[in-house]
């Protein structure tokens, strides 16, 4: 089976010489929900920006390859790659730049050439999936932070991506918004890659975790195994929040 995401031997150095990735291999298969963990500066964002070709060997010094459902990430395939890989950035104010929620969600599919009634249907479906259909005509800056994050997810869903990539989805959310977002993400029928420092959130949502450290993949296994491997956690500056112990959580309540 062709993996949705096939990253092979990816290395990348920024033009200033900083080597961010040293040969990363990563495969994600259809329907998987994977957490990408790692300390600050591990190269997580650099890796994410390679997935849709914002960064590539062509823009800096790099080698290796990225393919999405068998289609290699190259300049020629860029539009199709960006349809297949939907990235939700950390700050919704960066992602929502149009005058209304509806226009913002329509931005991506309209760039793909979808028009008229089909566009309207896509927009409302995407908003419906994140529970924001009632807010279609509001300007994004009038929404709460949690609502803006959900609209940001909808902007990407409207492109019907094969893989949804989320950068720190739980940051700055209050506990209720955090849970609502988790419910929404669990209910989506898409492959998911989630970059996060929020380890309980990773455990709650993603059966599998990949640890990136110093530009290399240092662990790839079930989230439960990764979080309970004390030596690994210590070696890569990963820490569970105070009072949180995955071992006392019932195995049945974990996503599988």
């Amino acid at each position: 089976m062709i993996p949705v995401l096939d990253v092979r031997g990816l290395a990348f150095a920024y033009p200033d010489g900083h080597q961010a990735l040293h040969g990363v291999d990563l495969h994600v298969h259809a329907g998987e929900r994977v957490a990408l963990l790692g300390p600050n500066g591990a190269g997580k964002t650099t890796l994410v920006l390679h997935l849709n070709g914002i960064l590539s060997g062509e823009t800096g010094h790099g080698e290796g390859s990225v393919a999405v459902s068998g289609l290699p990430v190259t300049k020629r395939n860029l539009l199709e790659i960006r349809r297949r890989v939907g990235i939700v950035f950390q700050d919704p104010d960066d992602q929502l730049f149009m005058g209304s929620v509806r226009a913002d969600v329509a931005f991506g599919p309209a760039n793909l050439g979808i028009k008229g009634a089909a566009l309207e249907r896509r927009v409302m479906e995407a908003l419906d999936r994140v529970g924001m259909a009632d807010f279609a005509d509001r300007p994004p800056h009038h929404l709460s932070f949690g609502q803006r994050r959900r609209v940001a997810v909808a902007t990407v869903l409207a492109m019907e991506p094969e893989i949804l990539v989320l950068d720190e989805p739980s940051s700055n959310l209050d506990p209720a918004s955090r849970r609502e977002l988790a419910d929404i993400l669990r209910g989506l029928d898409v492959t998911l890659l989630m970059v996060t420092h929020d380890l309980p959130y990773a455990l709650q949502l993603c059966p599998r975790s990949v640890v990136l450290s110093g530009g290399r993949v240092v662990a790839d296994g079930t989230t439960y195994d990764v979080l309970t491997d004390d030596a690994l956690m210590r070696a890569h500056r990963l820490e569970l929040p105070w009072g949180f112990d995955p071992r006392v959580i019932g195995i049945d309540s974990l996503p599988g």
Binding site: R82, G99, F107, A110
Partner: protein, 229 residues
């Protein structure tokens, strides 16, 4: 946090002026301003006609003057410049009684100052009337219909979208400075304030780059898709 609701220039009301198509209003504003600027400054009655016309439109729009007048402070730097002109301009001088004193002012300077004040004020008041009766997004649609280059319309659209975000940023930075004992009004702290503005510029610039990344990620190719507006 801190994002103001609605735009501070728009006055919500229902009137024929509010309902008129935006591109028509923009054209009328442009025509009006050009006429005012082209009117020779000695034609004093003509300016009274201009003003009456403008006040008529404002009354029709049901925008209270109390709402428009405080917003005319943007004009103050020009007024200061105009007030200086009679003192610095060349030419024959006339005596003007000023609180018991007689001040000798340049005649051509006085005339130039009058021209600047009356034309500037009419222009600003007319522009404010457009802003008060038309939502910013409608102004953009209007400009688009008038075949304004797409790139300029896009830039203005982003300006409107991010105005609140950037003022919010600035507000938080100033609050953080106040919390550490800085008084933005005191000239002693202006250097710190200037550095804050520098930081704000860098932040906004970086946000611009992130927004551009987010746009590229959704297939942006240099023009906003017509259907997404």
């Amino acid at each position: 946090m801190g994002a103001g609701h609605g735009h501070r220039l728009h006055y919500h009301a229902h009137s024929p002026v509010h309902r008129a198509p935006a591109h028509l209003k923009i054209l009328l504003l442009l025509g009006f301003v050009l006429t005012v600027v082209a009117t020779p400054r000695q034609w004093y009655p003509a300016f009274a006609v201009h003003l009456a016309l403008l006040l008529g439109v404002i009354a029709l729009a049901r925008v209270p003057l109390r709402y428009l007048l405080p917003r005319m402070v943007v004009e103050v730097p020009f007024l200061i410049f105009a007030a200086l002109m009679p003192f610095v301009a060349e030419g024959p001088r006339v005596a003007v009684p000023l609180g018991g004193w007689e001040v000798w002012l340049s005649e051509s300077g006085l005339l130039a100052a009058w021209g600047l004040v009356v034309k500037g004020t009419l222009g600003v008041l007319a522009s404010l009337t457009l802003a008060a009766t038309t939502e910013p997004t409608d102004v953009l649609h209007g400009l688009q219909r008038l075949r304004m280059p797409d790139l300029l319309v896009q830039i203005m659209g982003f300006m409107i979208r991010y105005l609140d975000v950037v003022t919010g940023d600035l507000g938080r930075m100033v609050t953080a400075m106040r919390s550490r004992g800085v008084d933005p009004r005191s000239p002693r702290h202006w250097p710190a304030l200037a550095r804050t503005l520098g930081a704000l510029f860098v932040r906004s610039y970086e946000r611009g780059e992130r927004v551009h990344l987010a746009m590229l990620s959704r297939g942006y190719d240099g023009r906003l898709p017509g259907d997404a507006r």
